[in-house]
């Protein structure tokens, strides 16, 4: 169905060389308008929400979801999906937590180990999906089960002694802003540049648009897909390691539900869930919206049961207004 030549044309949002045109797209305008609306509404309603400390907190709380959603976006852009992000985050972090043993000297090597585990798990996903033509959804869903079994084998209760120095990853601040927020902003910028201005980014769009057309255009489809899954695993592990810096303990239930939330954020941001269309900036909007809403839930002390109901409603509404077809 999608085998038209237009599917591999660079996305409308891609700026020309040297140009800095922002991707003004209906869905992106919509999501940021919504963030603004909900944010301003919450600010007028609640004094606690508009407190500057709380606002930086909202930003800091969106980092974990942001990291997972970035990985998810790359995979979805390439026409795949990664249901295992939350479990990749959990497993790599649990391994790191167990190995730590309150040893400050291990911080850098263990960060590398955690990220490597994430990348390796992503590689396995990508390898299975590209080599045997298996459905990405079901493969990563199965991986979800396998990894939850393994992570329960590693720990069924809180584990690990984390050196206090590691917690500065979360706490350190640069003037009024936490360092982590600044770094995260840089990451969003870099990923946006990569998706819109590099060969790999173009390849992601092309493969997501139509694998056949991408292949005929001399794009290495398996390598692009594997690259996307590896990056997804890497970002997921980074998200998990950041959770570890916040909680200071390896929690066998951590990152629960973040796989779903990352997909919701991507969908809210207007990215086509069948691949090939969308912008990472939309995902950022989706993440911010979920962050603001979650913060308001906390302030208003909404029952967690109703939180899930509302999240489901949001998903259904997003889904029902979903753009059909691939041509704009």
């Amino acid at each position: 169905v999608a085998g038209t030549a237009s599917a591999i044309a660079p996305p409308a949002a891609a700026p020309r060389l040297g140009g800095w045109r922002l991707p003004i797209d209906g869905s992106i305008v919509f999501i940021y308008a919504l963030v603004l609306l909900v944010g301003v509404g919450a600010g007028m309603y609640s004094e606690r929400f508009r407190d500057p400390n709380n606002l930086t907190n909202v930003l800091r709380q969106t980092i974990v979801l942001g990291l997972l959603a970035i990985g998810q976006s790359l995979v979805i852009l390439a026409g795949g999906i990664d249901m295992s992000v939350a479990l990749i985050a959990r497993l790599s972090t649990l391994v790191v937590a167990v190995l730590f043993g309150n040893n400050e000297a291990l911080i850098v090597p263990l960060l590398a180990v955690g990220l490597a585990i994430g990348a390796a798990l992503g590689l396995i996903n990508g390898f299975i999906i590209t080599r045997v033509y298996a459905s990405p959804f079901i493969v990563t869903f199965g991986m979800f089960s396998i990894l939850s079994g393994i992570s329960l084998a590693i720990a069924s209760g809180p584990v690990g002694k984390i050196p206090p120095a590691y917690l500065t990853l979360y706490d350190a601040s640069l003037g009024p802003l936490p360092v982590s927020v600044v770094v995260m902003a840089l990451i969003w910028g870099v990923v946006w540049m990569v998706t819109t201005r590099t060969r790999f980014g173009r390849a992601l769009f092309a493969v997501g648009g139509s694998q056949r057309v991408a292949r005929l255009s001399a794009i290495n489809v398996p390598r692009t897909l594997i690259g996307a899954y590896v990056l997804s695993g890497l970002f997921a592990a980074a998200g998990g390691l950041f959770i570890l810096a916040r909680t200071g303990v390896g929690d066998p239930k951590m990152a629960e539900g973040l796989d779903f939330q990352s997909i919701v954020a991507v969908a809210l941001g207007g990215m086509s869930l069948s691949g090939g269309r969308g912008s990472i900036l939309g995902t950022l909007g989706g993440v911010l919206l979920l962050g603001v809403v979650a913060n308001m839930f906390n302030i208003l002390q909404v029952d967690s049961f109703f939180q899930q109901l509302i999240l489901g409603l949001v998903v259904l509404i997003t889904v029902a207004t979903y753009r059909t077809g691939k041509t704009t």
Partner: protein, 331 residues
């Protein structure tokens, strides 16, 4: 749009996999479940003889029946190239409604649960067939929504008043066979009959194999897809009732693993996720295989969390085989 439009197509095809390889993968895809089941049963006889104690066999039979009922529904949806992730939510919500409301037999609550199951199936089907939403997104949104509704309804509390008639369905026996297994066999026979001998069955396969071709041939494609989702939800409800009758109470964890397991059972039983291929007997073998494996983890004394790894591994391996098969047959 075939590769034949390109001059190099003939060259590519001649260097493709040999027919023998294609046939081997096809056979492996069709027979994976029965063969693996035989191997596992033999291995169990050697390494875990406790598995064959009558009490344990009854447990496996009931668990296979519950999973089998869900898997039949999942297979129907997979046949039309769909997927239903909301089964475990429907399974749980249906059971909660019937059980928390009554002591004896009340037609009203059963109808209520049935209406909700049909409603969820309709919503899934409409989203997929009319709005063209990818099935896993539509049904996944439904999973979160129905799961949330169930939590809002029960506030996470368990309820234990399973009515007598459900207990009979869940743990009663007719001769050597548990009633749950009988229920499953009846559902299998009905589904098999419809799929093999009626126009509706052929419609389902036609829609799954080639949606556009089926539409041009006058098949009401969208209605067929919706019907499959409705059937899947209703079967999930039936399974939920049988399961709660067997366990004797309903809690938040009821049915948690049925999404993975029903998909794994259907796919390992020879159903492809690209639609159009699969049959109830293979799915039944898949459900038995999975139930036996999960039970062996318990009987062999392995920590229970490895059940998760086993079901994931079966799903990934089965998906790998069926993916290869679908790719090779679709060339």
């Amino acid at each position: 749009v075939s590769a034949a439009a390109f001059p190099s197509a003939r060259v590519l095809r001649s260097t493709g996999p040999s027919p023998a390889f294609v046939r081997a993968v096809d056979l492996a895809g069709q027979w994976a479940a029965p063969v693996a089941l035989l191997v596992v049963l033999l291995a169990a006889a050697v390494f875990v003889p406790k598995f064959y104690e009558p009490g344990n066999l009854t447990v496996v039979a009931i668990q296979a029946a519950v999973l089998g009922i869900v898997a039949v529904g999942q297979m129907l949806v997979l046949l039309v190239a769909g997927l239903d992730l909301s089964v475990n939510a429907v399974l749980g919500l249906g059971a909660v409604i019937v059980i928390s409301n009554q002591q004896g037999f009340s037609v009203v609550t059963v109808l209520e649960a049935l209406a909700i199951a049909v409603g969820v199936g309709l919503a899934n089907g409409l989203l997929v067939a009319w709005r063209k939403v990818p099935p896993f997104i539509a049904t996944f949104g439904m999973l979160i929504f129905v799961g949330g509704a169930r939590l809002a309804y029960t506030h996470g509390q368990a309820s234990g008043n399973v009515p007598g008639w459900l207990r009979v369905v869940g743990i009663g026996q007719l001769g050597p066979l548990p009633n749950a297994t009988l229920t499953w066999l009846v559902i299998l026979a009905l589904t098999g009959g419809i799929l093999l001998f009626t126009r509706y069955g052929r419609w389902i396969y036609a829609v799954g194999a080639n949606y556009e071709a089926a539409r041009y041939a006058g098949v009401p494609t969208r209605e067929v897809v919706v019907a499959c989702y409705v059937a899947c939800s209703v079967l999930a409800l039936v399974a939920g009732l049988v399961l709660s009758g067997y366990i004797g109470y309903v809690d938040q964890r009821l049915g948690t693993d049925f999404n993975v397991n029903s998909i794994a059972a259907a796919i390992v039983g020879g159903t492809t996720f690209s639609g159009g291929r699969g049959n109830p007997l293979g799915t039944a073998a898949g459900a038995i295989l999975l139930s036996v494996l999960l039970d062996l983890v318990v009987v062999a004394g392995i920590p229970i969390n490895w059940q998760l790894a086993v079901q994931g591994l079966v799903l990934v391996l089965a998906t790998a085989i069926q993916g290869m098969r679908g790719h090779l047959l679709g060339r």
